[in-house]
Amino acid sequence: MNILYFLIGCSVLVALVFLGAFFWALKTGQHDDVYTPSVRILFDDEVKNDINEKSDKNHISD
């Protein structure tokens, strides 16, 4: 059962990694604005669509 000593160490370490990840997210301002990104992600990117269409047409003409 001595393996438990090692496993406990691992579990604390993993938990610390998550805590660190949370602090990183907090520091880089990922919690500052919790609403706008949810809207932003739904916008279509027209510019890219244009390029896709053109490249599709090129394929057809080729």
Partner: protein
């Protein structure tokens, strides 16, 4: 979403206002005015019509072109921008017009209009946009002009709203919560085997678990809970006990007991209770600190003032920051601009709208050489002023400089008032039981009884029930358009006996006004008037035009607009004049007894009458007043003349005291006089003229028709349509305090059970570890259920 390309709609494609009979048509779409059409043109030229795809009619009607010359001044630019390097600048603006997803889309695609604005990010809830641009390709002024062109004029005021609000959420508290939560989780994990009893195999780990728990308790005690110790120390120094004092004692006792039992290896410690307690306490603190992102409660005159004003030096216009204005400067104030400092009128015809400062509806005329006070808005031609006092020392600013606001009038909250008795009770029980066991000669039991009593009697519920109840009430309020500053303010709301009303803008609405015409106009003449008004963008002209709702519009010749006075022109060969009385081309006997305001009409030198705009009482005023009359002393303080007194008398009780022509300082003094008579005063007002009174009152409510408009500093902001619910709001806050008291009784009964075991010195850590969360869960679920129940009872929740 309906198909946005429908052309047969009756609303403007851009702003969604009802179309007038004569509409503009462009690109097969209808627009209500030139402004809306020009925004559409800009967007369609830049291939940005997606703006209209995400929402129907997302636009805002454009106001007049602003003057942004001051944004070319390097000193002002330096004040505004957040960051600047060799090529790029970053600036954050507060834009009140942001309201829907189309706004986000448009403002984040500014690069399509001008590629030098290479990035723009919106924070929707704060209504802020952060713009990065190449400052050698586009100036700050051009950036703002682009925003203005598309209908999103940023609000740039002396008190930069953006920077003041930077630290609204206490990040350090979140760090502490995270660490406490992390430690709590791990400690629970390692305490779990103990809860179920250790098998022989697990016994070998007991030591390790105990030491690990102690290790997790160290950051929780010395970092997360540090504030409780400093606060307790500070309050003891002042010979006063606050709620943090017993909490600090408990945390200390828990930590010392855990450390001792770990080091001497005698049984499990209280690590789980300690970490859990600190975590919950911090959560309560966080709930209490949460406020609204998008509303500022601490605005003063500075957010009403512009950041810069035009000065005249050697006959040349030069924009200067308000803070740099010195005595003797010549100021140029254009139509609609604000006088930023007390000054003497040197040139021009000054008609100042002082309504925001004094509450008086009629503009005042000033003669040359007369002193003009800061805060007035010029209506008419540009005037020149010479500054006699810098902006920071003006009459208006004086309202904020007074030091004597809010002395001891605010009630101490329930928590702090009970903390003293609570602490004394705990100490008495703890020392008596310790003394008993010492007298019995059982030293070990004496120590364990002392610590156990202190642990069990934890006022953690007291520290939690208040923030949880009150913040639940806050969220009920804010769904109904009543935004209270913080949870402490809710407690103040429950404890009032006098309600003071302002009149203009508070009892009356600035938005819903009725246009009445006194005089005679034939339908044909109405069309002539409408044709004239159609050419003006003045808000009054638009209102009257809307009321006339003409079927057709004639073309007009010799149109002339005298800013601030009126308009005239020749329609169908007849000379029409519309405007204020003082602007009438001739002295007209028939108009002598009329008030100056309103739109006076003359056709071919014959006075026809006047369209007057009557302010309407807000809806639901009468039931509100009769309801409040039962429990409260009411009072009216108005800055306006007493012309509405008869009408007010009908609404209020005849005995209600009403004071008119009150200056801002008189209003403030009146509130103070009431407080000196031990009255607890609620003040409802709207403008800068009420600012002093709102600040001094025990509970100041600013009424506004648009939450994003300027409101003076106050305890709560209420949207005008919710005014009728005021008695319900007050009742709910009272019920909230009842809830807190009941939950305190529940917690006390839990504590008594715990103390029964504690005084006998037989409190096992497991019991403490279970008792505390159970009582916490009971209390939090009780408070949230009770709040829901009371909200429904008061009609604030369906």
């Amino acid at each position: 979403m309906s198909n946005p390309t429908v052309t047969q709609s009756s609303v403007c494609y851009h702003c969604g206002d009802k179309l007038p009979a004569v509409k503009l048509n462009y690109d097969e779409k209808d627009f209500c005015c030139v402004g809306c059409q020009s925004v559409y043109q800009i967007l369609s030229e830049n291939n940005m019509c997606n703006y209209y795809a995400y929402n129907d009619t997302p636009g805002q009607r454009i106001k007049d072109d602003g003057h942004f010359e001051y944004l070319d001044e390097p000193t002002i630019i330096a004040q505004l921008i957040n960051y600047k390097d060799k090529d790029n600048s970053i600036v954050t603006f507060y834009i009140p017009a942001i309201h829907c997803s189309s706004c986000i889309w448009l403002l984040e695609h500014l690069y399509k209009i001008n590629p030098a604005i290479f990035s723009s990010r919106i924070d929707f809830l704060k209504r802020e946009v952060t713009i990065s641009y190449k400052h050698d390709k586009v100036s700050l002024r051009q950036v703002v002009e682009v925003l203005n062109q598309i209908g999103y004029e940023p609000l740039i005021s002396l008190q930069d709203v953006v920077k003041e609000k930077g630290n609204s959420v206490n990040k350090q508290l979140i760090w502490k919560i995270a660490i406490a939560g992390f430690c709590m989780g791990n400690v629970m994990l390692f305490s779990f085997p103990e809860y179920f009893g250790l098998s022989a195999l697990e016994k070998q780990f007991q030591d390790l678990f105990a030491w690990l728990n102690l290790a997790f308790c160290i950051p929780v005690t010395f970092y997360c809970a540090k504030e409780y110790f400093t606060s307790a120390y500070a309050s003891l120094k002042q010979k006063y006990i606050n709620l943090d004092t017993p909490l600090a004692l408990i945390i200390a006792v828990l930590f010392i007991r855990t450390a001792i039992s770990t080091i001497f290896n005698d049984g499990p410690g209280f690590g789980d209770t300690l970490t859990g307690l600190v975590f919950l306490l911090l959560m309560g603190k966080w709930v209490k600190q949460r406020t609204y992102h998008h509303i500022s409660f601490d605005r003063d005159y500075r957010s009403y003032f512009p950041i810069a004003i035009t000065t005249l030096k050697d006959n040349r216009e030069k924009p200067v920051a308000i803070s740099e204005i010195v005595v003797g400067d010549r100021l140029l104030i254009r139509n609609g601009e604000l006088v930023p400092a007390d000054a003497i009128l040197m040139k021009g015809d000054a008609w100042l709208d002082m309504s925001f400062v004094t509450g008086e509806a009629e503009p005042q005329q000033k003669v040359l050489g007369e002193i003009v006070y800061a805060g007035g808005r010029q209506m008419g031609e540009a005037i020149e002023l010479e500054v006699v006092k810098p902006a920071s020392q003006s009459y208006l600013t004086g309202l904020w400089n007074k030091e004597f606001y809010k002395t001891d009038f605010k009630k101490r909250n329930f928590n702090d008032s009970i903390a003293k008795y609570f602490s004394i009770g705990v100490f008495v029980v703890a020392f008596v039981s310790t003394g008993y066991w010492l007298w019995m000669g059982d030293n070990a039991k004496a120590w364990s009884a002392f610590t156990a009593v202190v642990i069990v009697a934890c006022p953690c519920v007291l520290a939690l029930s208040t923030p949880f109840t009150l913040s639940a009430i806050l969220s009920v309020f804010d769904k109904k358009g009543f935004y209270v500053k913080n949870t402490d303010a809710v407690e103040q709301l429950a404890d009032l006996d006098t309600v003071v009303f302002d009149k203009t803008g508070t009892l009356t609405s600035t938005h819903h006004s009725e246009i009445t015409f006194e005089g005679n106009l034939t339908p044909g003449e109405k069309l002539l008037v409408a044709s004239l008004l159609y050419n003006s963008s003045h808000p009054l002209s638009r209102q009257v035009l809307k009321a006339l709702n003409p079927s057709k519009i004639y073309s007009i010749a010799k149109y002339n607009e005298v800013v601030g006075k009126g308009i005239m022109g020749v329609v169908n060969g007849r000379m029409i004049y519309a405007g204020s009385k003082r602007g009438l081309p001739f002295e007209i006997a028939a108009a002598q007894d009329k008030e100056n305001g309103g739109v006076h009409i003359m056709i071919d030198e014959v006075y026809k009458g006047c369209f007057s705009v009557e302010q309407q009482w807000r809806e639901g005023i009468e039931p509100l007043i009769s309801h409040l009359n039962e429990d409260y002393d009411l009072k009216v303080l108005s800055g306006d003349t007493n012309k509405d007194e008869p009408q007010l008398k009908k609404i209020f009780k005849p005995s209600t005291s009403m004071l008119f022509n009150q200056s801002p300082v008189q209003k403030l003094d009146e509130i103070k006089a009431l407080q000196a008579r031990n009255k607890k005063v609620m003040m409802l007002g709207d403008g800068l003229n009420d600012a002093g009174a709102l600040k001094q009152a025990n509970f100041g409510i600013a009424i506004t028709d648009n939450i994003n408009n300027f409101t003076p500093g106050c305890d709560a902001i209420m949207s005008g349509s919710s005014l009728g619910l005021l008695p319900n709001f007050i009742q709910l806050s009272k019920d909230g305090l009842t809830t807190i008291k009941i939950s305190f009784a529940i917690a006390t009964s839990y504590n008594l059970i715990g103390v029964y075991y504690a005084v006998q010195g037989t409190l096992y850590p497991l019991v403490a570890a279970i008792l505390m969360p159970i009582s916490t869960i009971t209390i939090i679920s009780f408070t949230s259920l009770a709040t829901r129940y009371f909200a429904r009872k008061n009609g604030l929740r369906s």
